[in-house]
Symmetry: C2
Subunit: 435 residues, 2 copies
């Protein structure tokens, strides 16, 4: 039996490259990356850098004739310093592996995208990945202290510093984070680790209506509590989970909220959260018992697998101000009705970050059909109308380029174009991705 070679020309966006790349380079050293970029610069060839290929926005999809540069083999954790609270890593380290290693020192790595078990720290840096704990602990940019970057001419530059604080010079390390491989190639980073909270507490609450759930999110926001996790699942998602697992979540209402608090006062804090949730809920449960917590989190864990059983998902990623959550979800339902396509909504309510999942029959060639993309367009327009963003944590990639430009506005786009030209005058770094 032969194992098929991994497809290094695409990612999990469902987007196909416009043609075959000229070459796939599996880098083993920083020198490999520099040599590849120098060669590409001389020839004017594009370089599409990738980690695990778990991206959802098409940021690591090849273009015809380009060099695909795979950094997943640069996967060592070089050091962890518990006193400094830092780790030095290569970009191909799997994010969960960094978190696990930090755990051996009583620490944790805060950014926890849904893909944490398969995605790389370098890919997370490229997209400024978020995650469930973002509401309390921030996103990847908040964890990155410094980066080693191979620039478009193949030179290696160190940006940022290993100390927790520092204001010497411009925040060019922060500029590289989230630049989706279009400004430079991250070949190393020093990231921050935090003390592992001694206690975690979990609550789950059902709501008759979405509006009740959104009101509960607002109530939590002003309760004085600061949950590390505050997730919302809509009725369509609950019904999908019920169908997949035999649960009866949808019976209890049209929306579910799941909250976690952590720290020394996690139990007192979850009680405050639960009280805020209880006002409009049809039922609330909370626990500090890990097994019980695991049960309460089942719905969140099963949401995407359950939806994926129904059809091929287009996973979207908007954010709106928390005060506009009910309106956003209500209007997404109108989009589903008007476009006659099922849309499931769950997401990180604490950040105002929703993941509408559009499910439609694939085209005959297996691609996501046009109707799904049209529904996504409606959702992007809605996000901007509500003062939000077209991508909260997945990135712009190739899929949201036009919408990103609309969100930024002409003046900001001009600045972006100048910054891109400054870092990459030939335009060889991941062309077609980003703003």
């Amino acid at each position: 039996m032969t194992v098929p070679a991994p497809d290094r020309t695409t990612d999990r966006s469902g987007l196909r490259p416009d043609g075959p790349p000229s070459e796939v380079v599996i880098a083993r050293t920083v020198a490999d990356v520099q040599e590849t970029v120098r060669r590409a610069a001389r020839a004017g060839t594009s370089v599409i850098t990738r980690g695990a290929g778990s991206g959802l926005a098409g940021g690591a999809v090849a273009v015809a004739g380009a060099i695909v540069l795979d950094l997943s083999g640069l996967n060592r954790i070089l050091s962890i310093d518990p006193v400094d609270g830092t780790a030095r890593v290569e970009p191909g380290v799997i994010t969960a592996e960094l978190d696990r290693s930090a755990g051996e020192h009583g620490l944790f790595y805060a950014p926890d995208p849904g893909s944490v078990g398969i995605s790389t720290v370098g890919g997370n840096i490229a997209t400024n990945a978020g995650g469930l704990r973002g509401a309390k602990y921030g996103v990847t940019r908040d964890a990155v202290l410094s980066v080693e970057v191979v620039l478009a001419d193949g030179s290696l530059v160190h940006l940022g510093r290993p100390t927790i604080k520092g204001v010497t010079g411009y925040d060019l390390a922060g500029l590289i984070v989230g630049s989706e491989g279009t400004l430079g190639i991250v070949v190393g980073a020093t990231v921050r680790l935090l003390p592992k909270p001694p206690q975690v507490a979990t609550a789950s609450a059902s709501f008759a209506t979405l509006e009740d759930a959104a009101a509960a999110v607002a109530a939590v926001a002003v309760s004085g509590a600061r949950p590390a996790v505050l997730e919302i699942l809509d009725g369509a998602t609950l019904a999908a989970i019920d169908a997949a697992t035999g649960s009866a979540l949808r019976e209890h209402g049209d929306a579910l909220l799941i909250a976690q608090t952590d720290g020394f006062g996690a139990e007192q804090e979850i009680a405050v959260v639960a009280a805020a949730l209880a006002e409009g809920a049809t039922g609330v449960e909370w626990t500090t018992d890990p097994a019980e917590a695991h049960r309460l989190l089942t719905a969140r864990r099963e949401a995407l697998p359950a939806i994926e059983r129904i059809g091929r998902p287009l996973i979207e990623d908007i954010a709106v101000p928390r005060s506009r959550l009910a309106e956003a979800i209500g209007r997404i339902r109108q989009v589903a009705a008007a476009r006659e396509v099922p849309i499931f909504v769950f997401g990180h309510a604490g950040d105002g970050n929703l993941h509408p999942i559009i499910v439609a029959e694939p085209d005959t060639d297996g691609a996501i059909p046009e109707v799904a993309h049209r529904a996504a367009d409606d959702i992007f327009a809605l996000a901007l109308e509500l003062g939000g963003t077209v991508t909260a944590e997945h990135g712009v990639g190739r899929l949201k380029r036009d919408w990103a430009r609309r969100e930024l506005g002409a003046d900001a786009v001009r600045l972006h174009e100048k910054v891109k030209a400054l870092f990459d005058p030939q335009g060889i770094l991941n062309p077609g991705s980003g703003f």
Copy 2:
């Protein structure tokens, strides 16, 4: 009696301008700022933007012939949204006033530089100001979601977004934060507010030696606790406080640590911190009583005033990895001995951020004498040798320009110069400040 006009040509760095500015503009509107910058761009005149003038690095010191642009009159809090957890502000708002207004909604504004009662949010954004709570809550950049910026051609651009999360485009808002008025002029911002912790607990511990105190900082780092505040004061500082207030702090040891925890489990958490401190301490106290906490914090509050009674201070601002704190303070003492100038050290040990205060007789013209600057040079060299930074939270300004370039290295400086040229091709925005 006439009140002297405020001196808008300098800041608290003690640095004097090289000549009189051509004009001082007190902006009342964003249009005033745009009109001033357009006029400056046409004439090729420099613009030195200032808020309260509380900076310590000379970042708001005028240059001969320049226009001084004072934004302290743009001082309205435009809105606070407790559900979104955001505030929209003009740049001249006093930072403590924003925090106080947030408090009316059960929220707080996390960045709390020592100057919080006199400095402006705009000035804090320009320098990416830190503060006591930085160890847990980060610095100004972590609080800024979006900025309105007047560029060097007088145009107004919006960068960032009002949502908590968002990855559309490059982090140009983050690039503006900490750029010390050299890339653009911040005329508005949306900042994040956090739930006010329900409980605060405070601990204070004395140590026979600096090494014991540094070991205690390391012990706290791996204790599982995450103090919001962890301050260190050295023996010289304690002696100065004793002389000023009649206390007997120096008798108890050569170093003092003060810690605060906050949140729902502040009391349990301070007990863990106190246990970590106790191992090497000559004495530890802790409390959840606000009056007692006020007493324990007296030393920290009195440190700078006590030192200022002795002579004119040059306030420095390095950071080193937390694991190098003892070495840093020990070596600063050697600098004091070799240069024969008193140096007092206190700072934010949780961030590795030390403020060595060099005190020397002013020159006959009232300026800080050469010996103080030479001692500062020794300290900067030391910070770099230990893997640290020459400025953790005060900024580069005019005082640390050469050292900033040394810290960044030639390759990063070239990138900085290109970014500066991109935003400000004529070089009219705060020339002489920054990297």
